[in-house]
């Protein structure tokens, strides 16, 4: 059987590898609260979205979650479920935000949207599946504040990266 690969497949694989590397480095950082981490791999998703379109961004984002979980040994664990839920929410929001009929967001706006969606999706899943306790709601504003700040940071980095990548990269 012959598997034919396209140029785009290679590009997605390379970018996913980059995102996985960032994800793994971040996984070693201690976190003050479960659910809070910088999410710098989000930078790659935003850059891919703005240069190569939503389809590539969705591939890179979901493949990153899958590959990282295999490498970290969290595949199919609650961590993986939350991570996948967050990524799905974030990719869904980015789809809406990158349509022609929605206002034109820049890297900063897209990054903030993705971070907030990721956190909300993850929180919603955690609340629905694992800890359906009203006390958990007290954490939501704190978590969203962290998501907002890290979203802005990622957005700034994404914007700087985009300046280094020409508009029509093959």
């Amino acid at each position: 059987m012959q598997v034919t690969t396209t140029r785009e497949d290679y590009r997605i694989a390379w970018l996913t590898a980059l995102a996985v590397a960032i994800h793994l480095v971040e996984a070693t950082l201690p976190s003050p609260l479960p659910g809070i981490k910088p999410g710098l791999a989000n930078v790659i998703t935003i850059v891919v979205l703005l240069r190569f379109g939503w389809g590539s961004a969705a591939w890179v984002s979901l493949l990153r979650i899958l590959v990282s979980s295999l490498l970290l040994g969290t595949f199919l664990s609650p961590t993986f479920v939350l991570s996948l839920g967050g990524a799905t929410a974030s990719i869904a929001v980015l789809w809406v935000a990158s349509r022609r009929w929605t206002p034109a967001f820049g890297p900063l706006g897209l990054s903030v949207l993705a971070a907030l969606a990721h956190m909300s999706g993850q929180f919603g899943l955690a609340f629905a599946l694992f800890i359906p306790h009203p006390g958990l709601l007290h954490l939501l504003p704190v978590l969203l504040t962290a998501a907002l700040l890290f979203g802005i940071t990622s957005g700034i980095i994404a914007r700087m990266m985009l300046q280094g990548i020409p508009e029509n990269t093959p």
Binding site: P103, F105, L108
Partner: protein
């Protein structure tokens, strides 16, 4: 900062900050449930009233009439026919879960709210 934010980005940031601020207030702010006062006499609940409305109540008990005052979101006994007047000395009650009783007259009041404090903590 030119070129860093599109108009949509700016609107989004303001909206996100407003939303998170509102979440803080609604989740961490004071309990929105108004407190109520419950009054018992001779084993029966005789009154349940909002603590926000000032008033003076005369409650018939086993020995005579106890007078309870509700003022500025707090409640106390002002008069009771008992000998020790412990209920009066207990003073104003204002937090959910707090209770004062005139045991000889069998009249008690209790503050009701969503987040009741503990009656007692045992180590």
């Amino acid at each position: 900062m030119r070129g860093w934010l599109t108009g949509a980005d700016g609107v989004l940031l303001v909206a996100a900050i407003a939303l998170i601020g509102w979440l803080y207030v609604s989740v961490w702010g004071p309990s929105s449930m108004p407190l109520e006062i419950e009054i018992w006499s001779r084993g029966q609940r005789v009154e349940q009233l909002p603590l926000a409305e000032d008033r003076i109540l005369d409650i018939r008990g086993a020995m005579g009439t106890s007078r309870i005052e509700i003022k500025d979101g707090q409640a106390r006994f002002v008069a009771s026919p008992c000998t020790n007047k412990l209920c009066i000395l207990h003073g104003w009650q204002r937090h959910a879960g707090e209770t004062t009783a005139c045991v000889p007259n069998r009249v008690s009041l209790r503050i009701l709210g969503r987040d009741a404090r503990y009656d007692a903590i045992n180590f």
